[in-house]
Subunit: 398 residues, 2 copies
Amino acid sequence: MPPSEHAEALTGNQSLIKRINSAAILRLVRQEAGLSRADLAKRSGLTKSTVSLLVQELIDEGWLCESEAPVSNAVGRRPTPLQLDPSRLALLGAEIGVDYLNVVACNLQGKLLGSCQQPYSPSDLGSTLTALAGLIAQQDASLCAQGWRVLGISVGVPGTVDVHGHRVGMVPNLGWHHQDIEQPLCKALKRAGVRQSPVKVLNEANAAALSEYVFGTGAQTNSLVYLSMGIGVGGGIVLGDRLHLGHDGTAGEVGHTVLQLDGPPCRCGSRGCAETFISQRAVSLDITGTPDPVLPIDELARRVAGGDATAVAAARRAGRYLGMLMQNICNMLDPAVLVLGGPMVQLGPVFLDAARECFAGLQARYAFHTTEVRHCRFGINACAVGAAGAVLHEALMA
Amino acid sequence: MPPSEHAEALTGNQSLIKRINSAAILRLVRQEAGLSRADLAKRSGLTKSTVSLLVQELIDEGWLCESEAPVSNAVGRRPTPLQLDPSRLALLGAEIGVDYLNVVACNLQGKLLGSCQQPYSPSDLGSTLTALAGLIAQQDASLCAQGWRVLGISVGVPGTVDVHGHRVGMVPNLGWHHQDIEQPLCKALKRAGVRQSPVKVLNEANAAALSEYVFGTGAQTNSLVYLSMGIGVGGGIVLGDRLHLGHDGTAGEVGHTVLQLDGPPCRCGSRGCAETFISQRAVSLDITGTPDPVLPIDELARRVAGGDATAVAAARRAGRYLGMLMQNICNMLDPAVLVLGGPMVQLGPVFLDAARECFAGLQARYAFHTTEVRHCRFGINACAVGAAGAVLHEALMA
């Protein structure tokens, strides 16, 4: 809702005021655990009494809890530090991978409460959603039995999703094209016995970006780009505390930015895309000389670690192009943080050092700072944990 | 101010409510001239009586005016269309170019009320600002004599500017490095006799992006990328109705995204930057075989238009790389609109058709839409008009 609409509504709508202010308090505590009520009043601009009232409600509802007050010899009552309550509200996140389904349950701090994976073969959308709903139902039941309240469910998919999260555009590795997904997913969940919860669908790299943004970062990071490198290459962009989806939801498709004019053909129909240099498919092709089958990432990592000359050269070459892509992302977007994730990071220093070296060599001299580059914190769970994070993010951005 | 802070402030602060709601009304009218009070009530969510009160105040203050009511034979009073008042409030915008200073005065609809240019040789910051302040004072005096009220002054510079607009980072063509600019500019304006107005400094491509966003676009465009191609190549990015400045203000430096690993050396210290393929400098080098002097754009355009084979080949090559850059921008950001601007567009169809052809050939198959590509509307005044637009933008985003 744009500010204007707030303004008038707010003068007469106490419950809307409360919701907006509560979300703001939660955002502050998420950014920096340990803030006291007085800190929150100072940072939010709200009065201390308003903050106290809202904090009490958030504690009652399971959002916040008081952590241990720091021991001190000073006279007087010490302020009580607050944090997101890790013990009552749960988030469900899922990933539809190319050859597996993954469902995780997290608490508000991003700690894993449970997970289940299932290998599967690419299939039609309906069967996939039925299988996924079964796994979600399993986690949901387990959470309920332990007394958790589930806030919502979110699913990451390896392809483009429209800005509303209603439809997938193209999911090349699963063969889905322009199909409704949100409604079929809701129905499948209902059939599987999952009680009505908010459901959200998003691109896998966007989900992974939220894993880092919602659970992995400190107070200062309001912009972040996540690079998801596996069979393909995708990207997720958080700018100004929001996922940047673009005009129609396809922003962040950095795997199909072009790194070489008239370069190698890409599955997308174009040529010279980043994906044709940096992906598992590209490294495998470099080593075997044939596009199929793509060697498993474990196999590639083993060969590189073992010093196989062809594999090392292929990983280094991919790394150099990764450095080029990193530079292009940073020059275009100037994010605070760039996160490297996906199976390809298993190629280790041979790949990643080549990337950092190339990136450093390309740095322009005009920048005020250098973007912080770091590795993904949630490994193979990045997408599913980020999908869970999307549920929390949605609630906090209310 | 984040929503939370609004909420409480608003309950007790009628003047803040009024300011926010007034800005919202102005944004709606800017997006679509001709809206009636009833339309505004519907779109803003405000009551009709509130809208009527605010509109009357905005008319009294010179922001809005009523245009002719459409003639109709229907019974009853016709709603009166509203528009930004073109006749009372003025905006001053300036550009510090590489070899010229340009100052324009615009009305709220972006119509030029006056302008003055002055050639100059790159000089130290102080002398440049003194010369610029003289030109601004001239325009300011002329506006005042005609009864205009000046809302503010904004200046575009050909280099990086920090997020606050206080300092320049690197302005390679003028030899400025990490210097304060806002305070010296304010002082120079004061010395030149310009009455106190808000002053803002921004990167030239960011300013040019605002020229298109604030004055050139329709209701549906909330994301836009502007490509400024001249001696160098810069970019300005508008996302979610705001300039995207990045973590430290250097976002949009698309001229230094890398289009070829180990490519030609760039002035920035890197290699293979877009600027080494797409700029006036690149085309000139391609034609003459020497980096200095860079042929004037008129000379390049004349040779290309005249069918000089070397010049045509150079323009085509630059165009192909422009297509590649366009593709990279669209894949990363998915903007609604991409605007091509700067002196290089004078190379005409040979250059631009090559770009569009290459861009079309690189389009991936997964997109939901194709970004609208169009040419800059304000020609050589793009930066100065956009700087003037920045003044209006700042007021409307209050």
